[in-house]
């Protein structure tokens, strides 16, 4: 059997009338990037809050954050997605559940994926933030408190600025993971890059071109994220601190 390579397939009309094949890839990429960036920004906020909560004195707050982080880090992201999509609407009060089910399906899928990825990623980010906070010597907290800063002030002006800089490199891989994890969206019918690629390979009968294209796109995303994070790292570096 000889495979007929045909790289021009991307400039041909789809047999299902969805426009050119390259448009399918572009649409998928659009979803992947939108979902990932949105989830990442939300996760940074929630992750920081949860990470801070894990270092607070109040046992109720600390334990809530610990349980959240443990549960969301230790179940597969696909299982979490199915729970958000199939289970949660059933368990909500009937009125809310019906509202969710009657929503525009595309919007429902999009929101579900964003909620799922945000909370999954935030749990990982929380661990990084906590590790960053704990790596700042306790004497700095004591000194700041002695100078009259409130607890919030200590976090805002002393701990977090240092913690964020320390955790930037490990955060890069979390950021990359959001893009990769967003591929689970296809399992509930949201056709992001991986899902579109699979459809493209079936519609066009040119699977090799389709998968090679998707692989290249993902590698470019990875490279861009690494460049971006390196730039942020350089810009935020304090002279004389952390190997600057």
């Amino acid at each position: 059997m000889n495979y007929n390579w045909d790289w021009l397939v991307f400039f041909r009309q789809s047999v299902t009338g969805e426009g050119y094949y390259w448009e399918m890839i572009a649409r998928g990429l659009g979803w992947t990037v939108t979902i990932s960036l949105l989830s990442w920004f939300l996760a940074l906020g929630i992750g920081t809050a949860a990470g801070v909560a894990r270092t607070l004195r109040n046992p109720a707050v600390r334990w809530t954050a610990t349980v959240y982080v443990h549960c969301f880090r230790n179940t597969p992201v696909l299982v979490q997605l199915f729970i958000w999509y199939f289970v949660v609407p059933e368990l909500l009060p009937a009125k809310w559940g019906d509202a969710v089910k009657q929503m525009n399906p595309a919007l429902n899928q999009f929101l579900t994926v964003v909620v799922c990825l945000t909370l999954y990623t935030a749990a990982k980010a929380a661990e990084q933030v906590r590790a960053g906070i704990e790596s700042v010597p306790a004497s700095q907290t004591h000194a700041a408190l002695a100078m009259g800063l409130t607890t919030a002030g200590v976090y805002r002006h002393v701990l977090l600025p240092q913690a964020f800089r320390i955790v930037l490199p490990p955060m890069t891989s979390d950021f990359l993971n959001v893009f990769k994890n967003s591929a689970v969206a296809m399992t509930i019918g949201l056709m992001e890059l991986t899902g579109q690629t699979r459809q493209l390979s079936e519609f066009s009968a040119q699977p090799f071109e389709a998968f090679v294209a998707a692989t290249v796109v993902y590698m470019v995303i990875t490279y861009l994220v690494i460049l971006l994070m390196r730039w942020i790292e350089n810009r935020s570096r304090i002279p004389g601190y952390l190997g600057a």
Binding site: R73, P76, P93, M219
Partner: protein
Amino acid sequence: MGYDFEWGTLLRAWPYLAEGMAMTLFLVAVAMTLGILIGTVLAVVRIFGPRPLQIAAGGYVNLFRSVPLILTIFWFYFLMPPVMRMITGDQNLTIGAIYSALAALTLAEAAYYCEIMRAGIGSVRGGQMHAAMALGMTRSQALLSVILPQAFRNMTPSLINQTVALLKDTSLVYVISLNDFLGAATKLGQRDGRLVEMYLFVAAVYLALCSLGVWLVGYFQKKRAAGA
């Protein structure tokens, strides 16, 4: 909350779920064993190999680490059969979903294990290689009986962590309809209209298994910190 739970569905589904769990554990066992093996070879090549091989191994690791695992599974599921047909010339050759899944999981995890082993080899002090060679060992002897045993011991917590990640990742074989734990639960849940109970149970089981892994990591870290 208007939902009537019917947990009895789990009891009736039990034999099928157990089969699914066996499949999941099988995938984990094979991908872990082969993944660590291949990953260690890759790590050794990346550190000690000749320049072209170093670059090739580095490219392999970067490729597998930058694409989603679902896409990797699709590569092997959709692309491996035609490739194998071309190589063997056998037009009717098929490759089961399970082999595609095993190949994808093993080769993808090998890339992650490689990075861990690379750090592990780096954690063994450089003088030991020289000392072993001064004692008359060859490079490979020094590697096998001096460097790697220490690297494995130093990296045990990270290797377990990665295996926990692998356990979670195996659920992605759902996309090629393989009957792993999640796949089995989905099928029965859809048949009986009891997805809620099924998915909550599945989540609890994964949580328990991963928690065990996390506890093991802590145990080994404590043991190492105690200098045992």
